[in-house]
Subunit: 438 residues, 2 copies
């Protein structure tokens, strides 16, 4: 993707909060969301800038941004899908217009018009931004896969196909929720060490730190997307917590994960566009020596998004103590063995049709080192060695009240640093009502 | 579910075609579809009767059926979802009104009004009837599972969890198409006996004969549906061909089926309601001696739908010869180890929310005997022993031009026999254009 003036590190906004070093949303970012004013009102598409949200439809209507029929219709929706389905040129042109409107050099009537359509983030409720038709979750970290394979006692912890294709499974779309939604600890069938099976609340709750991509333009059923054009179908990215109940998953899993994950998956509310992320690319980890060459239909370069991704834990006690939480993980998509272009090309290689709004998860983003593990299962060797938290608490698995939040930033020499906002969710106690019923 | 006058075997319609013994659509059936007149026009909801389709919205508007605001709005849609989400009492009341309107005793102005809104099936195009949010496919035939496990050389061909819970995986919703849509032979990664992997068209194409249920009213995320109430959430049923490319599936499968099935799944266009099927229930196959008792949250009786389900094959040569095809399979959902009430209760047991229009597949409906195998993989021992067809052709796997169609009928002493219509689809040659690209 071409870099242009919207990526310029020297660019500053007339909004002070957008020029602070720590903001996730400088003028170089301009991510999309769907929001509702806390005081009520309908859902609307917004653009993040500093600590404010620009109401896109209102800005268009007021003339702050030059209008076009396709853009007007897309901006008036209550999900991002129509905007995501627009021609890439039109999307890029919108980014330029937004960048110009919020630039420090914009003043007078234009700036005033824009200022009239800003809503402080603290006064807004962020909603699930996209209507997700199908959700696919990949498994692309060899580190995560190997560690899991070893816990299961597999002789060959990495599946044979791992470096030949990006392993994936279909996930559950209905239960995807936006950051801030809490997950009720699920009940399920759990097998004990003696082989007895009971129906009970999960005792092995885990988070999984993932990066996820939203499909922009889809493809026709029966026609695959060439690897060289796969990037054109990736609209933008968010963070994702693939909540998992490992004990449920271990017993049920014959044809892949099912109830161990389908109770809830949580995504961050901001869709950071592929165009905003264009400068931040890095080489993926090299493949092990002797690994077969990637087949031509998936040979798509060895670069991926270069982000620092973090998982944090705040227990109930930490909340009581006023502690913001403890960082558990610091990892990077460069630790993965496949990039999103390869995932998308593989997904369509059999003619499967992707639709605008489909969500592709990277799988747990784990790296080689102990502080780059993307889930508790890895950190505790599947519950065998408890995590020691700084306040004296320990965790083999997540407890009720534990809140997990993810952050991510992209940075590169000569470019601004942009962020993703938070993906935050808490474990709520299992429904007691189920006890009697079971 | 209560039986009532709509199930009465003595009931006849004023439409002769509905009174023929061989029709799938006597007045006791009244399945729903979405259709479009072949001469053009918009999609509309229809009711099948004999060889005709009653245009539901038009019949309501004309006063042929008593109106109600909820029903009017639902009938005016171009998918069945709103109708499926109605209160069960309202759905049952609609069935009674339709049954009365089409009954031989209905005459005069009412009959004339109804007759004015009939469209011959041969003049209509049947569309995908439901907007499917999530599609879940189960694996509930022990016969199918055991045979597959043996082909794979598994010591223990039946997974340990098989009789403890209905095994399932999430399927791909975007690629579900209606009967009459043909499947392009997919390309994929295929591993040969020497361990080499190539990207090529599948050489192991198979059908899988399934029964599938559409969810009517959904459930709230975090709240499971009790087994005793699961039936209230099942709106109706169709036939489903879970097209499979077994060679792609064998290599890719780590977390369940993915590209080996996601290129296309085909459903029959008629949704036969749970209420129409209420009389036709039979005992499921007994579980093997020594199998642990079903846990209380899934203990839901041992009955299921009693249907004769058939898979037929018509090769290109048979079409040329004017032969309608050869029957490959004759099976029954009674061969399965779990019923749909159990599948739905299990699916929601972790709090996963089902939505109106979600589709639940039974998995391949295979029985014990050689003529009750629901897929080619079983019939040919995974391609090892070719099928001998009556016209001298042989098949290890499906060839280009092969058309597979399914039929099913429900019958019970003292009740009319009702059918499902056809689920029909053909294998088209792989895209040649992909050859150069690979």
């Amino acid at each position: 993707m071409q870099l242009n003036e919207t990526h310029d590190v020297g660019k500053r906004s007339w909004l002070d909060s957008a020029n602070q070093a720590e903001t996730d949303f400088p003028i170089q970012n301009l991510p999309f969301c769907v929001f509702r004013r806390a005081c009520g009102g309908t859902a609307a598409i917004g653009v993040g800038i500093g600590d404010q949200i620009l109401d896109l439809a209102a800005a268009l209507e007021s003339g702050a941004i030059p209008r076009s029929p396709g853009l007007d219709a897309a901006a008036a929706q209550t999900r991002l899908n129509a905007l995501m389905a627009l021609d890439r040129g039109e999307q890029s042109s919108l980014r330029k217009k937004l960048s110009a409107l919020l630039d420090a050099s914009c003043d007078g009537a234009q700036r005033e018009r824009a200022a009239g359509h800003l809503v402080p983030m603290r006064d807004a409720e962020l909603l699930l931004p996209v209507e997700i038709g199908d959700y696919t979750d990949f498994l692309t970290s060899a580190w995560h896969t190997e560690r899991h394979g070893r816990f299961k006692g597999l002789q060959d912890p990495l599946p044979k196909a791992f470096f030949s294709l990006p392993v994936a499974y279909h996930g559950r779309a209905s239960s995807i929720r936006v950051s801030g939604t809490h997950a009720t600890r699920p009940w399920g069938q759990i097998r004990d060490a003696q082989g007895g099976v009971r129906f009970a609340p999960s005792e092995a709750m885990d988070f999984e730190l993932e990066l996820a991509a939203f499909v922009g333009q889809g493809n026709q059923q029966g026609r695959r997307v060439e690897i060289g054009r796969a990037g054109e179908h990736l609209f933008g990215y968010c963070l994702m917590n693939d909540w998992s109940a490992k004990d449920i998953q271990w017993w049920e899993q014959v044809l892949g994960p099912f109830l161990g994950k389908s109770f809830m998956t949580v995504v961050s509310p901001w869709v950071v566009t592929a165009e905003a992320l264009a400068p931040y690319r890095g080489r993926m980890d090299p493949r092990p020596a002797g690994t077969a060459a990637i087949l031509p239909h998936l040979a798509g370069g060895n670069e991926t998004l270069d982000l620092v991704m973090e998982a944090w834990l705040q227990t109930s006690r930490m909340r009581g103590e006023g502690t913001p939480g403890v960082r558990l993980t610091r990892t990077n998509p460069r630790n993965l063995s496949w990039n999103f272009e390869q995932m998308l090309a593989h997904h369509t290689s059999n003619g499967c049709n992707l639709r605008t709004g489909d969500l592709l998860g990277s799988g747990t983003v784990s790296g080689a080192s102990d502080d780059a593990m993307g889930c508790m299962t890895e950190m505790t060797s599947a519950g065998a060695s408890a995590l020691q938290l700084p306040n004296g608490e320990t965790r083999s698995w997540l407890q009720d009240g534990d809140e997990v939040f993810f952050r991510a930033r992209a940075a590169r020499e000569g470019f601004a640093s942009i962020g993703f906002g938070e993906c935050r969710s808490r474990i709520l106690p299992a429904n007691a009502g189920d006890s009697a019923a079971s």
